[in-house]
């Protein structure tokens, strides 16, 4: 059963071919055998109990009994939630994130929490304070990040689907590197209540799956206004599970700035082949330009650290989480935060603190906000000409573990294709579009706000035509 898509698992359960208890047991067994390091912890007992309860219940909600893995950035009541950080070691939340609660209400069974870069800061999951996660396509390579565990577990058939969070590419980039589907919805589509904040104006929760239809199905249960999140939005139309086979009349703009020297040839070729498929299916491909997106990375690395410097200030070891004993208040703050945050988190807190400092605000944060407005305008102008924009999701395929850990800038470049979309708050997804040197290449499609259905339709048609096999060579189907 673990090789099946979520959709197929739902069908098998409905047909009585398998019970939820058996299904969860199978997935738990696969997840417990974790050479990839996808999971920080499993909730085996909780998952089994829920599966049995669902099997016994007369009602069958839409996702009844289907296992799911959840990134450790999401608050789960009574299940340790660390956000990949020592500072939250042993922390058991008293409430469950709205997104997870909605899936549980629809019958989904959370089997465990997945590894991530500490506080979602990173592009390789190597910034986890606890463990490395390996790419199921090549165990010496990174799965991408920050949602590396959620991507790896779906690629490795440890879960049919999972939840991640995306601030500058943290769903799309690992989905690309692990050869699966990952989607970042429109900002405000999914409630952030219970998502441990990295950069509040950018963070969004979204699905990982092995098929576009699964991603759409999961998303359909996530979206909608939440009274606990003021920035969440009323969803204009239901998210549909896509059926499109053709792209007739669809205009796709290929972002020129992201198809140049900075992108590996193998990645470019795979993306170009995918553009050929777009045309085969009746769509048209035109080159477009997003001139301000070249400032995306610099803009992002002012805004995200600025917000994170405030968001992470609450982790002081006073009310919850781990702490380092001290004599005075100042020693307590310095000792706890100095010892229990990792180097990348500290680097970004320092960056953000500096960017907001009195006298520098306009020069950094103020200017970054203005560039952000320009990027929004670029996209608006692009969408006057085309329906969707396409680009590589990542300029490279999965890189080697340790290859970039000493060079933060090289690591930051991993998100160069995904960041502009995040800054504009737009929906985007990554689908696998081929292999380069035996490793998956991701195609990113982005659309205007609330164009999720159009994006999913296009992605589904392309996925069917491309016929990418999501099963990594060493993984049992």
């Amino acid at each position: 059963m673990v090789g099946l898509s979520a959709e197929a698992q739902i069908a098998a359960l409905r047909a009585g071919e398998v019970s939820s208890a058996d299904l969860v047991e199978e997935q738990l067994a696969r997840a417990a055998d974790d050479p990839w390091g996808s999971f920080l912890r499993l909730d085996a007992d909780g998952a089994r109990a829920r599966a049995r309860a669902i099997d016994a219940a007369p009602e069958r909600p839409p996702l009844a009994g289907i296992p799911i893995a959840v990134k450790d950035v999401l608050s789960t009541r009574d299940i340790e939630t660390t956000c990949g950080s020592r500072i939250l070691e042993g922390f058991r939340p008293v409430y469950t994130a709205t997104s997870v609660a909605r899936l549980e209400a629809a019958g989904a069974v959370v089997i465990g929490k997945t590894n991530m870069d500490e506080f979602a800061m990173g592009s390789s999951t190597e910034n986890s304070a606890y463990q490395l996660t390996r790419n199921p396509w090549d165990a010496d390579r990174v799965p991408g990040g920050s949602s590396g565990g959620s991507a790896a577990c779906v690629a490795a058939r440890q879960a049919p689907w999972s939840l991640g969070s995306d601030t500058g590419g943290s769903i799309r980039q690992p989905a690309a590197l692990c050869g699966i589907v990952g989607m970042k919805p429109t900002y405000g589509a999914v409630s952030r209540y219970g998502l441990i904040a990295f950069a509040s104006s950018l963070d969004q929760i979204g699905p990982f799956a092995r098929t576009v239809r699964d991603a759409a199905l999961l998303l359909s249960h996530l979206v909608g206004r939440d009274p606990l999140d003021s920035t969440s939005l009323e969803w204009p139309e239901p998210v549909r599970v896509p059926t499109a086979e053709r792209l007739d009349g669809l205009r796709v703009g290929l972002v020129q700035e992201l198809m140049g020297e900075g992108t590996e040839p193998g990645v470019r070729e795979a993306v170009e082949r995918a553009m050929g498929v777009v045309e085969d299916l009746g769509g048209t491909v035109v080159p477009i330009s997003l001139p301000s997106s070249e400032q995306g990375l610099a803009t992002y690395y002012v805004i995200a650290p600025a917000e994170c410097s405030a968001n992470l200030a609450r982790f002081d070891g006073i009310r919850y989480g781990a702490r380092v004993a001290a004599e005075t208040l100042l020693e307590h703050y310095e000792g706890t935060r100095g010892a229990l945050f990792g180097p990348e988190v500290k680097r970004r807190i320092m960056l953000g603190t500096f960017a907001l400092a009195s006298g520098y605000y306009d020069q950094y944060y103020g200017r970054a906000q203005r560039v952000r407005t320009l990027i929004v305008r670029d996209f608006r102008e692009a969408f006057a000409q085309v329906d969707l924009v396409a680009s590589p999701t990542s300029p490279t395929v999965a890189f080697r573990l340790g290859e970039r850990t000493d060079d933060p800038y090289q690591m930051y470049l991993a998100d160069i294709c995904t960041i502009p979309v995040s800054l504009a708050g737009l929906p985007a997804l990554s689908i696998p579009c081929g292999l380069a040197d035996g490793l998956p290449v991701g195609l990113q499609l982005a659309g205007p706000a609330f164009s999720e259905n159009r994006l999913l339709d296009a992605a589904h048609a392309l996925e069917q035509a491309i016929g990418f096999d999501t099963l990594p060579p060493g993984v049992e189907g």
Partner: protein, 484 residues
């Protein structure tokens, strides 16, 4: 050198009287056991988000409207960052460059009727910090064995009202604050209890040569929890600044603390105020954009405020500014007085409400609007006084009875026989008796010593327990003694 005059602006923090906190659903409380009104949001658990309390926005808008402020069509929240255990997020959600309410004006009126116009710079919304408790040692932070945090107060909606530096004396500051407080009480937006900290004031104080328009270096006098201390603190700080400058020194911009016990001013350690708050637009909240129709409705629904009430009472009823000021101390007292004044002579009503009624009730710990003396009863009593049925002492005694029993004044007068004696025959007999008993004084009177008249009136009151009509007695003494 010309005289140095004070220039003072104030910042007032007011806890709003909402049911729940500013950004979560916890109920407000005072005096409940520590940490019984908390939730993941106000404890800043990982992943939580704030949601703006609409009721708090409404109350803040009412304050802004009452102070004649411009209402921002779209105001935003900011994060004010600093680390302290009473601030669980390590930032306070406040407003920075786009407050809910902008420029306004509030004109206080001194006892002598002099107007004290004060520009309002802004009125904005924010959340209160939690309460730190220092255990062991002296109960202060220094020397405490440990500190604990009570998060019940954390997240209470606060409004900060900032004035222009338009005030020029400590006494005017006190008048302004007292009348501002009255306005807030009339609006019903806060209980404005300074001892419980639901209203707190800071003052920015500087001095400058009289006639100059340039501002001197200001100091901030922090967190005074009574108007009296604030007035004394400002006076002391102005004197300190004058002395500093007179001695050739310079005033340093700093926060100072007034020690009410010693009357001394101490600078707070500069380390504590070396904050760079790194203001950041709050990304978790959407802008507050109040519907103009809603704002218009709130404006139309404002009650008659004490400033207007005072002006009306002085103009229409002939009350003194002082009477009007005292009687608008609280909305309850003002409503009570207005009800009495509608049925009785307003000046007499003002006198009795301010004076005898409050004096008698104070012993019982009651307020006029709480006990047995309904406005109708007090008006009835004043009517009996006005028509001569009761003398002043008789009225006081009757009032005491009404307070104790809740009887109607007329019934009390009848039952206790408190009615004034004005019967000619009865009074004539009394006067004749007194003239006979005090022959020496009667002779003095006949020899032209008019002062002795008072002696006889006093004797008559004594003999009747104050019930004799003093005017009639006085007339009869003359008639009978002088054979007029």
């Amino acid at each position: 050198m010309s005289a140095l005059e004070p220039v003072i602006g104030v910042e007032i923090h007011v806890q709003l009287r909402t049911r729940t906190k500013m950004f979560c659903g916890c109920e407000l409380s005072f005096g409940d056991p520590p940490n019984t009104h908390t939730c993941p949001v106000c404890l800043a658990h990982p992943g939580v988000l704030p949601v703006t309390n609409r009721e708090a926005v409404r109350l803040a808008l009412e304050i802004g409207l009452a102070l004649g402020c411009e209402i921002a069509p779209r105001s935003i929240f900011h994060r004010k960052n600093y680390f302290y255990p009473d601030l669980p997020k390590a930032y306070q959600i406040s407003q920075y460059d786009v407050p809910l309410c902008g420029r306004g004006r509030f004109t206080a009126v001194a006892e002598d009727g002099r107007e004290i116009p004060v520009g309002i710079t802004r009125v904005h919304l924010e959340e209160d910090a939690a309460k730190l408790m220092h255990l062991g040692g002296s109960g202060r932070r220094a020397g405490a064995e440990r500190s604990a945090v009570d998060f019940n107060r954390g997240g209470t909606p606060l409004v900060e009202i900032v004035t222009e530096p338009d005030l020029t004396s400590a006494a005017d500051v006190a008048v302004f604050l007292r009348q501002l407080r009255q306005t807030l009480l009339f609006l019903g937006v806060s209980d404005c209890n300074m001892e419980e900290g639901s209203m707190r004031a800071d003052a920015n104080v500087s001095v400058r040569p009289a006639g100059s328009t340039a501002l001197g270096t200001k100091t901030e006098l922090k967190n005074m929890n009574s108007f009296r201390f604030l007035e004394r603190g400002i006076t002391a700080e102005v004197e300190r600044q004058r002395a500093t400058i007179a001695a050739g020194g310079r005033v340093v911009q700093e926060t100072v603390h007034f020690e009410p016990e010693t009357g001394e001013i101490h600078p707070l350690r500069s380390k504590e105020e070396a904050h760079d708050y790194r203001y950041l637009p709050e990304p978790d909240l959407v802008p507050v954009a109040p519907d103009p129709a809603w704002v218009d409705g709130l404006r139309a629904g404002l009650p008659e405020l004490p400033q207007a009430l005072r002006a009306r009472w002085v103009g229409e009823m002939g009350l003194s500014h002082e009477d009007a000021d005292v009687l608008t101390e609280s909305p309850e007292l003002a409503a009570y007085f207005a009800a009495v004044a509608a049925e009785a002579d307003p000046k007499a009503a003002a006198n009795w409400v301010r004076g005898e009624l409050r004096a008698q009730l104070r012993e019982r710990g009651e307020e006029p609007w709480q006990g047995n003396v309904t406005p109708a009863r007090l008006a009835a009593l004043l009517g009996l006084l006005a028509d001569g049925t009761l003398s002043v002492p008789g009225a006081k005694e009757a009032l005491a009875e009404v307070i104790a029993t809740g009887e109607e004044p007329a019934a009390v007068v009848a039952r206790r026989g408190l009615g004034q004696i004005s019967d000619e025959g009865e009074l004539t007999a009394l006067v004749d008796r007194l003239l006979a008993e005090h022959a020496a004084q009667a002779d003095q009177l006949r020899s032209g010593k008019d002062k002795v008249l008072g002696f006889f009136v006093g004797q008559a009151m004594k003999a009747t327990q104050g019930r004799a009509d003093p005017g009639a007695v006085s007339r009869l003494v003359r008639e009978r003694a002088l054979g007029g």
